[in-house]
Symmetry: C2
């Protein structure tokens, strides 16, 4: 029994946005206006961002409007409406110092994301427990996961341990900590990486894709640097979920 408490609700352009907390962790649930039972996609946001960053709300809008799905995301510890610990402050400082010095960010991001994922993964299991108690989601509907960058650092261990996830979209992370989790994932995945990523080498990106045990897996590589992931990849991910999670009952 998880304590899901809705704290605010608004509707715009056919999308209902409900803020909530689950065991005190703030999150947001987007749904089609007047939605009945429909599949659910859980998202996790990127490092330094938050649950309502345009990448999250924009991808959710595509899933809600094109597929009629419910979409939920939590603030990661130390992000959004959640306080930073002293440990968070030290890691963020270390990252900015490395960036300013032109040193590799990878080692710091990998260890900090691993720390955050260890805290966030149980929160995502609890989120799914709580959302499945809602009549419009239920315990028998298909569930997907979508997270890039830090969202992948959280999502790969989460999906590896969560048999309720049927399909997942990941991308743009180092394989160090994640490859062992990826080797336990067998559901279909779509994975994005940037061919000219200044932080994650081609070999590192390909090694993580290769690690997934999924019989059905797709890799999308695009030219460009780390932050230049093309917008059409979001549309591709939506089609991927539509193939694997099916349509909304009322859509």
């Amino acid at each position: 029994m998880n304590s899901l408490i809705f704290t605010a609700e608004s509707t715009a352009h056919g999308i209902v946005e409900r803020d909530f907390t689950v065991d005190g962790v703030p999150g947001v649930l987007w749904s089609p206006e007047g939605a009945g039972r429909a599949p659910l996609v859980l998202q996790a946001h990127g490092g330094g961002n938050h649950k309502k960053h345009p990448a999250m709300s924009g991808r959710a809008a595509l899933l809600v409007r094109d597929c009629g799905y419910h979409v939920a995301v939590l603030d990661t510890p130390g992000h959004g409406d959640r306080p930073r610990t002293e440990h968070d402050e030290r890691e963020v400082e270390a990252l900015f110092a490395a960036r300013a010095a032109g040193e590799p960010e990878g080692p710091i991001v990998v260890r900090y994301n691993d720390h955050l994922a260890k805290l966030a993964v149980p929160e995502y299991h609890a989120l799914l427990d709580a959302l499945q108690e809602l009549p419009e989601i239920g315990t028998d509907g298909p569930v997907g996961f979508w997270g890039n960058n830090m969202g992948t650092a959280i999502g790969v261990p989460f999906v590896a341990a969560e048999p309720r996830i049927r399909a997942a979209v990941f991308g743009q992370h180092w394989p160090d900590v994640l490859a062992a989790h990826a080797a336990r994932i067998t559901v279909p995945i779509e994975f994005a990486l940037q061919w000219d990523d200044e932080h994650i080498s081609r070999e590192e990106g390909l090694a993580l894709f290769d690690a997934f045990a999924s019989a059905e897996k797709s890799l999308h590589v695009n030219s460009g640097r780390h932050k230049e992931l093309p917008r059409f990849e979001a549309e591709s991910a939506v089609r991927f979920f539509a193939r694997h999670l099916g349509g909304a009952a009322g859509a």
Copy 2:
């Protein structure tokens, strides 16, 4: 002045199919029924196939129906309605012998496709000259190229030498002969390879993708063997052309 002669015409499901010869080479042109001026996509078929193989007519149907485009493809020398030379017979025999013996097919396919491409590329330039004389295509409309396998062996040297091509979809070929041509291609490309291809290694496939000089390039890798390219890649290619060639005037 090229001699384009239409030899047969039929219409089904809103698609007009016109057989033709251009300088004696047989081809087919698919168009939307009642089409006005619209972009053109040239296709080249795979080894052992022909201009009306379901892969060709199926991809054409997507382009005609979803985008309102004209689509044309030629029989490659030694394929479809064209005679085989003694050289063709020897190479096909060598390929089948290698296959039966469990020996690598790559060296034979690479050299035979190179031979065929040297014959086919001038035919594709002549095809484009001839089609641009048709009022529904014209000399100023956008033109794309789409060919996988042997279609890539023909398409890469063709597009490298053909400034009228604005965007191209390639995939699944060894880099040996093609990388030098790819290095001269700067238009947007989408490139497909199979992660478990029993003929083309990952390193070979990635090396050809890497060779393209295009600022905008996308690689789609899917799990599965050589012949298991997922059908949704055709839909992805159609969206790629829609982004780069635009819509039909009347669509």
